[in-house]
């Protein structure tokens, strides 16, 4: 039986269609299978002039059933070393957080999730997150410390991740 096509699925179809027509450079994304539009695979290219350069990082987007009212979740598989990515690969940036949730008041409401955002904007934010980590609200404390105190070692380990991501 095909899944019911509801608001969330229609919107995901539209976003998918738009991304296939006109996709920003360095990003590929689409549903894993047509039976389930709520799980997408993405490939994100490491931005130039960063230690992530030349890397191609796979990630998985999981959409809630009430998308776009609630934001999706983005997990790098495997995880990569970055101050704003948890050890389990989950990305922690403001655009993925609903406006109500911000116990520490780090994020301005206009930077957070609202139905006006979309997959493309999320992935672009992730690319800019890769080039400019935000250690103020870090997710991976070890990575934050390493980034702040020993940038050389941080970049060396990231480049090792990049080589791994390319299967070298």
């Amino acid at each position: 039986m095909p899944p019911r096509v509801n608001t969330a699925q229609r919107r995901l179809l539209k976003e998918y269609q738009q991304l296939t027509k006109d996709c920003p450079e360095g990003i590929v994304a689409g549903p894993v299978s047509e039976d389930n539009l709520f799980v997408w695979d993405c490939l994100i290219e490491g931005p130039k002039d960063t230690p992530y350069e030349n890397g191609v990082f796979p990630a998985r987007l999981t959409f809630p059933t009430d998308y776009p009212l609630s934001p999706p979740k983005l997990v790098f598989t495997p995880s990569i070393l970055h101050p704003n990515i948890y050890a389990n690969g989950e990305v922690c940036i403001s655009i993925l957080h609903p406006p109500g949730e911000d116990p520490l008041q780090y994020e301005r409401p206009e930077e957070r999730w609202s139905p006006v955002q979309n997959v493309e904007k999320i992935l672009l934010s992730v690319m800019s997150m890769l080039s400019e980590p935000n250690v103020e609200s870090g997710a991976n404390i070890d990575a934050c410390v390493l980034w702040r105190d020993n940038r050389e070692e941080f970049e060396r380990r990231v480049r090792a991740d990049v080589r791994k991501s390319l299967g070298l």
């Binding site: 039986m1 095909p2 899944p3 019911r4 096509v5 509801n6 608001t7 229609r10 919107r11 179809l13 539209k14 976003e15 998918y16 269609q17 738009q18 296939t20 027509k21 006109d22 996709c23 450079e25 360095g26 590929v28 994304a29 689409g30 047509e34 389930n36 539009l37 709520f38 695979d41 993405c42 490939l43 290219e45 191609v56 059933t65 009430d66 776009p68 009212l69 609630s70 609903p98 406006p99 109500g100 409401p109 206009e110 609202s114 139905p115 006006v116």
Partner: protein
Amino acid sequence: MSSFVPTVSDPSDFAHCSEPRLVEFDSLLRCHICKEYQTAPVLTTCGHSYCSVCIRKYLIHTAKCPICSKEIREANLQRNVLLEQVVICFKTLRDDLLEKLTVESKVDDRQRRGSCEVIEIDDNVEVDDELEIVSETKKRRNVGQGGLESLFKRKKTPPKVGPLGTCPICAKQFPIRVLESEHIDLCLNTPLLEQDKDSIVPKESEHSYQKLTKLDFSSLSNTTLKQKLAKLELPTNGNRNQLESRYNEYLILWNANCDSIVPKDPKVLRRQLAQWESSLKFRKDDHDRQLDKKGWSDLIKQARNSKMKTREEQDDAQVESIDIMSTNEEDDSNLITSAQPQNCSIQASTQESTDHERVFAD
């Protein structure tokens, strides 16, 4: 390409026609939440417009405007009648416009390549863009045709809009495409007296639908709640949670429908409600694994209770929902295959992926 565009229409459909600026116009008429053309649009106190259903659902979630994050309240939403008329009008014209502008741009291509067969097709030009007309004049003069005079003639003749058909309801003539895609629906939904003789857009009509009020469930017994649902001709099976969320969903559908200038029949709303409920069942199957222990035992308890009480009722309801599903199954699978333009598995390298995009662009 054209086989899937009409099913999941998108502003970028205009990107390759002779007036790509229509992409922006098209996207302005869409709701920021569902990305469809706005249905029964409402205006917030901060001046933004959304489908009534979409924003009502979002406000339950977060009481802020999705665009500017100002605090807004459901009670302050106002109908946006003019926008709804503009949307209906544009939706009606869209396919024709798209077709013509695409034909036109093909003609322009041929013109650039120096072909002379252009003049006959020129008469199909519909958009009164001054720049266009000036350039056309030049071309005409170059070819040695009637010049300005013929231009004036062309302007006076009404634009050709394809074969005409007669609407079975209001007996007026419309292009068949418009008739099939939009007009008959509109005509069925609008009282005859309200229709303007020459207009595709229905006038704002006074309908008799009254908005429903929110219920204070804590002070309602099961029986009263069921009576309320029955009064609205809604199913009364299921547990307390199901009854409450059924009422709440219908409340949104109903109140949003009241914001439209062409409100749908309550029957249509009840069908939407049934679809919503069956999509909920589907989701539940999908997310069973994520339930924790407490969730499981609660569910088992619920299931036992409700099954004992309402086995027969549920059987009836199932027959009904299967009915609805079978009618929509084909649409759904069309929609999905159509959004899957080609073999779209994610490519292993970005180089390959850019090639892939190019294939799509073609």
